[in-house]
Symmetry: C2
Subunit: 270 residues, 2 copies
């Protein structure tokens, strides 16, 4: 799968570079972080690096955990006139402001999500877009209709919007969550299984068969090592295609922060 | 199932009547119809009758098909200061305005739907609420988590928002559509099957077993008779509980137009 991810990455970045040259307004992004969650630091650094590589402006605001209140975040959102994101998780019960769709680069706000339900959205949440890219590359861009897809996890930022987008594309979608009886599921009948629970070992590579595409969205730290939600049994090789962690969905997700910023700016140009 | 529907209806209407007496603002609703689609006429008449019965104000605007343009509908929406709905289907390529959530009594607008994805909505689309009521009555209000529900159909007004609401309630949800291979599905493994396709005969009563709850949302006219999406084979009795058409989901749906108007007015009172 590593080579598939690389191919998608290379082709998307070329596409973006050429799109950027056609814009009459410069691409801008503001990233807001509060405190210093170590995982957030890595994610933000990767996003900034990508903008730097392409010579684009990424404005990173870091706010102190001790002094930041909800009103500070709300004011930043209210005054933003270009794409902005609030890096999750936020500490101290702070919540990301509900951004209007035209600057909501993460696609997490209620306006973006409502447009998604109606199939009228400009951007998808970045991880959802990355997952769609991988399914497109593996199963064919025009083969979503009738595709049998299991989505394990129902978060607002991955599982739920992914299920909605797949329903929009006429896939047959099964949505599972922590209350589902996963042991009783016949996983082999799905063409694609997307696992986005944040629980390492919730499924393992012995459960899948040749021809299946398994997309591992989880990023967990186990014994100091980054691993996905899927446990890879030592010495066991599966015939299914399973995306790696790290270097799988996450690599493409980062790219779509830029991709979404470009889409929003294209849209604002009309 | 008729008696279950009756019980739900009676209990909901009592609940509504007592809620209405606590409101400090009168319940108001505006229904806009364009042209004279015969099915729409029946639906609207039922809604108005219910408001009349309870002594409430329902303002029905009927616009001529020949002279109404999109700007007329948009102006009505922009000037509305209380719950309003545009009766579907609209003729001549007219579309229902995308209403703000606080007056969107049908719950079809992007703001209502975005809030639904985040679990922050005030109202559900009326047919979705009616379906949830029936599942609650049959399976237990607190038993949605882990319930295996199949939703056949992916319309913006029933199938898609129902799937989202069920995911919010931690059900295990399978979403099927016209591109799904329905003949290959093992229907017996679902606790609940909701059929909302508008295609009579897409499933039939021989496919279900004892203990299953089958909710037929379809309303189709076949040989001058109103029938659901599920074909009832002559002389065959099934052990599953199947909601009747007419007198099933539709009866409760009508009630929730009033229920949603009350919820929106409650909300606006703070």
């Amino acid at each position: 799968m590593k080579s598939v991810i690389n191919t998608i990455y290379e082709s998307k970045i070329e596409e973006l570079k050429s799109k950027i040259t056609t814009l009459s307004v410069p691409v801008q992004l503001t990233i807001v972080t509060v405190g210093d969650d170590p995982a957030s630091k890595v994610y933000v650094r990767n996003k900034i690096r990508l903008f730097d590589e392409l010579g684009l402006e990424c404005n990173h605001l870091t706010l102190a955990e001790e002094t930041t209140v909800q009103a500070d975040l709300d004011a930043l959102a209210a005054n933003a006139d270009h794409p902005i994101l609030f890096q999750l998780p936020l500490p101290n019960g702070l919540t990301a402001p509900d951004l209007p769709a035209d600057i909501d680069v993460d696609g997490f706000g209620s306006e973006s999500l409502g447009q998604l339900v109606l199939g009228q959205n400009t951007v998808l949440p970045c991880t959802v877009q990355a997952t769609i890219d991988i399914i497109s590359a593996h199963c064919g861009e025009h083969n979503f209709a009738g595709l049998k897809v299991a989505v394990v996890g129902r978060s607002n930022i991955v599982g739920k919007p992914l299920a909605i987008e797949l329903i929009n594309r006429q896939s047959t979608v099964a949505s599972f969550n922590s209350r589902s009886d996963l042991a009783a599921v016949d996983w082999n009948k799905y063409d694609v299984i997307v696992v986005a629970t944040g629980a390492h070992g919730i499924l393992d590579n012995s459960q899948f068969i040749e021809g299946q595409l398994i997309i591992d969205v989880g990023i967990n730290r186990v014994d100091g090592k980054l691993v996905g939600d899927i446990k890879h049994h030592h010495g066991m090789v599966t015939a299914a295609s399973i995306t790696p962690v790290p270097g799988g969905v996450g690599r493409l997700t980062c790219l779509h922060v830029l991709g979404n910023a470009v889409k929003l700016i294209e849209c604002s140009q009309g």
